[in-house]
Symmetry: C2
Subunit: 379 residues, 2 copies
């Protein structure tokens, strides 16, 4: 972490910015403006990563921001607004099972409950931060860097296949989908596969199979829905034993929160019909829910204008994946630019975005920053 933040700080310094690392390990590069009382434009993305992942998810966006500002400075551009580049320390939330740590800290909306989360070695986040000299009692008390009149802009790889299928390098994000994670546990009765007749079976896996297909049918009514059973664990999981217990997870997403709530109702109705028919005890737990956000229309307009110069057509769509923007949009008007990645693949060592696409993204991003600095959108 220290190695990474120092390296990013040196890149920001080389680009001519005043760079600091805050106590959370966010790296902040400032480009001051003559106009000290104006709202700020914040640009950035996260520099942490999931384990065994690619190198584009997060860092590519941060590097695009640094490079774009360097280009503008070399052009002799003089910004009307304070411009900050933000490298967020922890978006993925791997070590402490807690997402958006860096961006929420900079918004003054850090969830203090996270301080008691423990890492795999049993240390709390509070202990770790205090051992580094941070006074956690002061959390959320100082005036945050990001405030309500500012703008936040994040470039990021798409982590999905939409741009690849449209054969376009870039896309404008209209909002970030609402999301729910659900855990289902079915209790059947294990038994010998060779001896137990059908009428005496309580097979947890056949019940789960029916539920998995019910989750898939949620797509039928709504092409904007995303409904995925990603994880399944079967017990005892032996070739000659009837499954006695199955646990699986459901990931539900919808562009807007109301649509997600509708999806949840439909899902519960379908699952309850199966539970009644199969008559096996089943627990359904809603693990977490996140509301959708809408990207600022003024920012979207500026991005559409910039993109029209750099590719054959302009497209915009909702992000199914969460990003720092999801958190920051609760504080100030925000917008995102998506960059095509090969096969829509992310969180994988084979994650890839071509140098050609990165070049297009950089040129467009310079235009986006200039446009929004010159024509700061009305709120």
């Amino acid at each position: 972490m220290d190695t990474a933040s120092k390296l990013i700080k040196s890149w920001m310094n080389n680009a001519g910015l005043i760079a600091t690392v805050d106590p959370m390990q966010n790296v902040i590069g400032s480009w001051p403006s003559e106009n000290a009382s104006s709202p700020s434009i914040h640009l950035g993305s996260h520099y942490d990563t999931v384990i065994n992942a690619g190198k584009y998810d997060g860092p590519l966006g941060l590097l695009l921001c640094i490079s774009a500002v360097e280009i503008l400075r070399l052009e002799g551009y003089e910004p009307k607004h304070f411009i900050n580049i933000l490298g967020f320390c922890d978006e993925e939330g791997i070590r402490f099972s807690s997402t958006f740590l860096g961006s929420s800290y900079l918004c003054g909306t850090f969830d203090l409950n996270f301080l008691d989360n423990r890492d795999s070695e049993g240390n709390t986040m509070r202990e770790l931060l205090e051992s580094r000299g941070m006074d956690t009692s002061q959390f959320n008390k100082a005036k945050p860097l990001i405030s309500k009149d500012d703008l936040f802009l994040e470039p990021h790889i798409e982590q999905g296949p939409v741009l690849e299928n449209l054969d376009l390098p870039l896309g404008v994000v209209t909002g970030i989908a609402a999301q729910s994670r659900i855990h289902v546990s079915i209790t059947g009765k294990s038994g010998h596969a060779g001896t137990t007749p059908l009428e005496l079976r309580k097979d947890a896996l056949t019940t789960a199979a029916e539920m998995i297909l019910a989750v898939e049918t949620l797509f039928d009514a709504n092409s904007n829905a995303r409904a995925t059973v990603g994880q399944i664990n079967n017990y005892p999981n032996a070739i000659n034993a009837i499954p006695g217990k199955v646990e699986f997870t459901i990931d539900l997403r919808h562009p807007v929160t109301a649509g997600l709530n509708q999806l949840k109702e439909e899902l519960l109705e379908k699952l309850n019909l199966i539970i009644q028919k199969r008559d096996l005890p089943c627990e359904i737990d809603f693990l977490q829910s996140v509301d959708s956000i809408t990207c600022d229309r003024g920012i979207q307009k500026a991005m559409n204008k910039a993109l029209a110069k750099h590719q054959k057509s302009v497209t915009s769509f909702t992000s199914g994946a969460g990003h720092d923007t999801l958190k920051i949009a609760q504080t100030c008007r925000s917008g995102m630019l998506f960059i095509r990645c090969r096969d829509g693949l992310s969180h994988h060592p084979d994650e890839y975005t071509s140098p050609e696409d990165i070049r297009v993204a950089l040129n467009a991003w310079v235009d986006v920053i200039r446009e929004l600095d010159q024509n700061f959108p009305e709120s």
Copy 2:
């Protein structure tokens, strides 16, 4: 193993038998007859066990044989036939993934390919046996103990719920079902659960779910069928990732081999329809198949006669589980007695058969042995 075989040998000696341990670690207790030229009656079961299992599967049958012979000897009974009690060293086939090692050795039908199987530490069975002083080049060459004119009788817990549902302690086995084990591997494409639309998904788990329900429908046409998906492994098995690969197993059983072959055909037809519809690459491998066997009718008749004295009614049915009898029935006429076990549970620490049922089983088993020794069935 040595501890167990020595203990069993001592029990046989205490029961008045001439006991030996053969080079495979089968324990053999002999009760000689005046009538040296007559065929033998072999009684027994295995004394090995699966890991983390109960204590009745196998050993209960062996102990019943020892106790029954002890009772007959104490009565002053003089057998017309040589009677051997056989404690088989390895029926479950855990260490070397190879079943019926003890019983096939005693029949002279040991599969020599098994000698090259390795245990989890990499030792072959051949190395292990030779390090114990056994000449494996002599396998299957000496005259085996069990030969075609003999009888083999095995008492065993049911490992299923049929007797419990009929409220009967004992049942006569009519045969052992044919069995096939099948491995299915579906290759989809992993992707982000939040970003990938339905039309771009290649979800291996929804395909597997449809197949699991298709396996269940095999029961529809035939109540004698047993069709179970016992094991499923999903990759990457992450809450927010579309399953990119699923492997699962199918355990198919039918009382007769022809019925099993019919089941396999039906299954393949159903799976192929799903593969065509879903269009995901899928490999279907038949891991192993075992033909059904029929228990000798003369032995069944003697068992029915004995059971009628000890419980309110007599029942007989096919065993869905495999046993040493499955192997030995290829060499000589064989029969099995099932003893009720609680909840039909086996291969589990909670496996249980009540002392009352064991007492009924012992009394009936004494009658079965006497009946067959007195009225050796015509072949």
